[in-house]
Amino acid sequence: MTNVVIAGYARSPFALAKKGGLTRVRPDEMAAEVVRALITRTGVKAEDIEDIIVGCAFPEAEQGLNVARLIGLLADLPITVAGATVNRFCGSSMYAIHMAAGAIQMNAGEAFIAVGVESMTRVPMGGYNPMPSPALHAKNPAAYMGMGDTAENVAQRWQITRDAQEEFALASHVKASAAQKAGKLTDEIVPITLNKANVSQDECIRHDASREGLAGLKPAFDANGTVTAGTSSPLTDGASAVLVCSEDYAMKHGLPVTARIKSIAVAGCAPDIMGIGPVAASRKALARAGLTSRDINVVELNEAFASQALACIRDLELDPATVNLDGGAIALGHPLGATGARITGKAASVLKREGGKYALATQCIGGGQGIATVLEAV
């Protein structure tokens, strides 16, 4: 079977929606900048790219009209490079990688760019025209449940205390702050200078985060709950991109390969505890790779909320010391569609940097799903 590798990863800085430095940047143009930089940095021949697959959670307005094709044109890719947009909410761009991997194994192309993008400033969560089915809402209201409520449900059922959530959130900021200061985030970032913006590093990290500060916040979703804005990922603007190739192609062209995709999986779960989605998906992916969580050296587990991240770590029996070494979404931000490509690209890079054998990238998905990718050192 054809091996598939990650041969490059780049992303925009992540900035707070509505307040940060990327509020005036169109998401399609931002993503095109990242794609352009990824091509330059990896040295891949643009004409060899089969398809650009873009994950986006709310593909409308400036993210609409099959934005993948538009990003390709904005990035001046050859006219022959096709484009498809995919929506699996937060799992969108990890799924873009999976689609690319599947196509490569089907011998339907050698090089793909998997992109993720979300401007949560310019396209609101839920989109501009949310129109749920009254019939489904009557039958299964959890199908449309707000993410904060699902985080409260997980906290309650898995008995994740507010204290534990805050400890986890603080650690995320501490790790991200240290990583930023040590320059560990610099290589992946493509500075954005569109429309008078000038953002060259992540803006969501709170370098002065403290337990006292977190303890002072009011519950964000339920007056009697434990989840606060401090233990949730912030609304974020950002874009990310990963170069996915057949191993043969990458080797032949001397591309900077970071990891091989060992296995992939998606799995559904109950919508009202969607945060637990990574457990089933990761178990499937690990089983397909013939591994257990003890074999994993590096984990990128998306921190949609501290409660669900902690519940997943517990159920998957992950070693906390291997999880999100450079910080997670609570500190870095979570531009919905862009996160999957970030954590997969990041897991591959960290695996190479830390010298481990296997990495796991996984995330939860609204509506009740999980997605996972197991990577192997090359």
Binding site: A61, G126, Y128, N129, P130, M131, P132, S133, P134, H137, Y144, G146, G148, D149, P219, A220, F221, D222, A223, G225
Partner: protein
Amino acid sequence: MASEIKSVAVIGAGVMGAAIAAHVANAGIKVKLLDIVKPGSADRNAIARGAIERFKKIEPAPLMSPKAARLITPGNTEDDFAGLAECDWIVEAVIERLDIKQALYKRIAEVRKPGSVVSSNTSTIPLSELMSDMPDTLKPDFVITHFFNPPRYMRLLELVTGPDTRGDTIDKITKFCDVTLGKSVISCRDTPGFIANRIGTYWIQSAMVLALDMGLEVEEADAIMGKPMGFPSTGVFGLMDLVGIDLGPHVNASLARLLPKSDPFHAINRDVSMIEKLIAEGYTGKKGKGGFYRSSGRGADKVKETLSLKAAAQGRLEWRATVRPKIDEVKDAKKDLKKLVGAKSKPGQYAWGVLGRVLAYAASLIPEIADDIASVDEAMRLGYTWKYGPFELIDKLGADWVSEKLAALSIPVPPILTRLGKGTFYKTEGSALLQFCSDGTYRPVKRPDGVLLLEDVKRGAKPVLTNKSASVWDIGDGVLCFEFHSIMNSLDGDILALLEKTIALVQKSYKALVIHSEDLRAGPGRENFSVGANLGLAVFAANLRMWGKIEGSVKEGQKAYQALRYAPFPVVGAPAGRALGGGCEILLHCSAVQAYAETYMGLVECGVGLVPGWGGCATMLARWQTAKDAPKGPMPAVAKVFEMVSTAKFSTSAAEAKDLKFLKPEDGITMNRYRVLADAKSRALALVDGYAKPEPAMLQLPGASGRVGLGMAVEEFRKKGVATPHDVTVASHLARVLTGGDVDIVDPVSETDVMALEREAFMALFRTRESQARIKHILDTGRPLRN
């Protein structure tokens, strides 16, 4: 012809300077705000920038819309001084030190462009002193423009000019401050404290000193020296807390220095140890730890406390729980002020002791401080929020009565009062308002050019139509003015009936209609265009279970408003102050609106457990659905209107009303309260030729699917503890109206369809016990009930 002022600079980013810059920006004019370079700061504009940043936190807000901040450019007096050459008006608002001001004027004289106006906002330094060491080139263009704090809300501007000031300069600055900034420009002589502070300081100081001398407590003094006399309801001690107790000694000292020894001010000006102690301990009023009043404890344990004047008289600062004094004379004063100030009791003696002195003082200052009494009354009304000026108060009491009572107090009767004898300071002749002058003659009270006041129209005239809640006046040139005069201008059956008659009359014999109400004595932010439907009547009907009657009045309102919208002539709404609920809806149905800048519009029905029932939902949906800056599709307009109406959001200015689309982009805003009616009339006349009534709007609404989305959002608010159970009920009815009821997304919906849903929801909610409780509560207490 004076050239116009198009760019302004304010030097000094302190409280006043920054707020003046904010107000210039409110008027849509570019303004530079300069201050010194803060030593050790990396940002050389830190002081000015910090002042602009603080606007967001200041209450009441200095800016009418956050967007106005973009017109203010922060700078510093080192790097940006040359830029003053671009400015048509340079306002100095630096510290009250003559040497610093004079040095600054020399620098300004070197860079400013010829013909630009330069002014000082000083309140304590005479013009003659400011100009004593001034380059000759600057003198013809230099004036004092004295704003009152807070400049956005206080409508008085005292203008002091000198013998060398050019006429062109006076015209230019007067026009700008009047028309563009919306101030009443009162020309003052160059005397200490000008008009308002001269009398106002004397009033405050007398009230404080006499309260201490007579052994009154703070609450008693404030109950007497406030509302009964038409003074601010805070009373004098409450007022000192509001403006800052630390300000008093500075103003007193400057007046003491400048006023001649014979001035009565010296007799009541003495150092009060209580004031010194309060300032030393940080009790400077609301901006500090509190003052004569303070709050202690938190949340439910919060209690209001008052400084004990008895303890203060013995050298101690002690606060005790605030009491509400019961003073019979204060109650009686509602009918006749003389019952208070003529009483022999302690409250009566205090009331007259202060008021008598103040009235005599004011009367003794004519013509020293101003040419005419009307200017003095205007200055006190607009600079100190007195409902009546001193001469109006004398007229209320009777000049001969005042003279007699002054003599009894051994206060010399001022010559102008003696000359007036038994007459009045103001009288009406035909439609003219005349004022008594110091030479013993009556002359007309002059309004600035272009001002049209309903009170002037009404003087000596009869309404074209009238009933107990509204009247219609002929304001000339074929335009009628529809005026509300019910309680708080609330809307009732009489108003709707008169509206119907008026529409017929205009159609037959006139060209256009303006809807306007006028309460010029209401004080900043307190005027009512209309507070909406008269809920008292509705509650009465509900108690008798007269549901048909209530539904009938909803229908009547819809019908009347529709008739306004589709009238064959232009209807221009001219609101000032609160335009809430039905008062907002009537404006939504006008062809155009010319709003006073301080107009507060909103559909606040959900606050009383109802939904807008007179076409407000339908109109706002149409506005948001056709807005060019809103996202497309069936939901964005619905979501936006739902958010605004369910939270009873109202605008805090006319500028914000545009952002919220209560006003249309082409609707006008008038900065000067006195010019609203004239501007509205011009607007109406401009629309007459070729006027075509609007086409009914058709809406695309999402039906049940959209309702599920809104319901989920409300449920989130309930969980967060933000929405109460009855909020959820009200919101669900509102959601049904705004989503179009049972329509499918492919069905076009007319405004008539939405109005039928409005009626249905209104009636369903009115029948609930919770909504009725909300209505009763607001009628009883003036505050919303959260149930």
